[in-house]
């Protein structure tokens, strides 16, 4: 699974990014992040990686690195 593409896919779900995200970013701290952004990230993960992520699993991932690892581990 390509890391840079994953980072781009997550970044693309934000309507407005003042600074680029990186793997250590706690993406929920970004000003433009809200619950709707979270919904589109979950849909993107299913679309691009075929991984069904539940709300509680999603909430447990604090950084993009953690989210990436979760998807990589659960990708069929």
């Amino acid at each position: 699974m390509e890391r840079d593409l994953f980072l781009k896919n997550v970044s693309d779900q934000f309507l407005d990014l003042e600074a680029p995200l990186d793997f250590d970013s706690n993406f929920r701290d970004v000003d433009s992040y809200d619950s709707l952004t979270g919904m589109t990230i979950m849909v993107m993960i299913k679309d691009e990686y075929g991984v069904d992520i539940t709300e509680s699993q999603y909430r447990a991932q604090k950084t993009i690195e953690e989210l990436y690892n979760f998807v990589a581990e659960n990708k069929v």
Binding site: D34, S35, L36, G38, M39, T40, M42, V43, K46, E55
Partner: protein, 340 residues
């Protein structure tokens, strides 16, 4: 025999809940930011003693003022609501009497929300094309705002109250417009029924003064006596199922996406609509959104938006229009109507 959609009227309650009022109720809530994303700035709220049946009656009065239709010609009334006056009798029977419709008129309620208008059109088409009725009134009305907990700022931001009336006939009457009702597709996933629910609301579970539940950040989460919506689950259902629904309705009507002149979807919120539009590959200029001053009026969003699209001349003669509804149930449906 074919069925035609011939006219639409709608009613919105007088009281308006705008963002200023909403902010004063919830100063911690970034209403402006949320409204910018949802596209909702005002919602109409039924007054304390105004119920779905009252709004339906008001919409019927407007309908008969706006259309030269004789009440005695109406032979069926379909009432789509999830806020009936009583478990029994059927609210449609009460409406028949109050609206002065003939006693020869059939009347029934059906319980659907955001997909209800599509199912209502399907039922009306069936009644007309099977020769059981010639002039069917499809009425939609809901007062979701009465089901929302006072602390539930998310749902208060989204939902508004409203009612609509549509006339479906066996002959194309040139009233304000006429559109032949073409082929439908439907879909249901009852495994998601708990994602949008008023749990303590029927025979199985009565209202019981349940306790409020809050999430880890202290925001109101749910109270089973009131409306609960799991936004993430509804969003996922919509994101994955609606593109398939649209693909299927196009196929059923032997159409390509480019053959369609306008798409009018259930007006859930602007963010979700725009997200689905992109997933369905629908160009922005062929996708009608009208939610700013009404919010999500459940089963009335499609007829309200459709009427406004016609009034704004976004839909004209010979246009092919796809309607799609999706939500509580979970339920969905779509149909093509042809303004021929």
């Amino acid at each position: 025999m074919k069925a035609y959609l011939n006219g639409i009227s709608y009613y919105l309650p007088q009281e308006i809940l705008d963002n200023v009022k909403l902010s004063s109720m919830h100063p911690e809530w970034s209403v402006e930011k949320i409204s910018e994303k949802t596209g909702i700035y005002e919602r109409h709220i039924a007054s304390e003693f105004e119920f779905a049946s009252d709004m339906a009656l008001a919409a019927l009065e407007i309908f008969f003022e706006e259309h030269a239709i004789d009440k005695k010609d109406i032979d069926f009334l379909l009432f789509c609501t999830q806020c009936p006056d009583y478990l029994l009798p059927t609210t449609a029977c009460i409406l028949q009497d109050k609206a002065g419709l003939p006693k020869s008129c059939g009347a029934l309620d059906f319980n659907l929300g955001c997909s209800g208008y599509i199912y209502g059109l399907g039922l009306a088409k069936g009644l007309v094309e099977s020769g059981q009725a010639r002039n069917v009134l499809l009425v939609t009305a809901d007062t979701y705002t009465k089901l929302i907990n006072e602390k539930d700022k998310s749902n208060k931001t989204i939902f508004g109250d409203g009612a609509s009336v549509s006339l479906i006939t066996s002959e194309p009457k040139e009233v304000l417009f006429k559109a032949s009702i073409q082929d439908f597709v439907y879909g249901t996933d009852g495994s998601g029924s708990e994602h949008l629910i008023v749990k303590n609301s029927g025979i199985k579970k009565h209202k019981e003064l349940s306790a409020d539940e809050f999430n880890e950040t202290g925001d109101f989460l749910r109270n089973d006596d009131y409306l609960y919506m799991n936004g993430k689950e509804i969003f996922q259902f919509t994101a994955f199922q609606v593109p398939k629904l649209i693909k299927n309705v196009l196929q059923k009507n032997n159409l390509e996406l480019t053959d369609v002149d306008m798409f009018v979807f259930h007006q859930a919120n602007e963010f979700m609509l725009d997200f689905i539009r992109k997933r369905c590959d629908i160009p922005e200029d062929k996708f009608f959104i009208s939610i700013k001053d009404v919010g999500n009026t459940v089963s009335s969003t499609i007829p309200i938006a459709l009427k406004r699209a016609i009034e704004q001349k976004k839909i004209e003669a010979n246009n092919k229009v796809i309607l799609a509804g999706f939500g509580v149930g979970l339920s969905m449906g779509s149909v093509m109507i042809n303004f021929n």
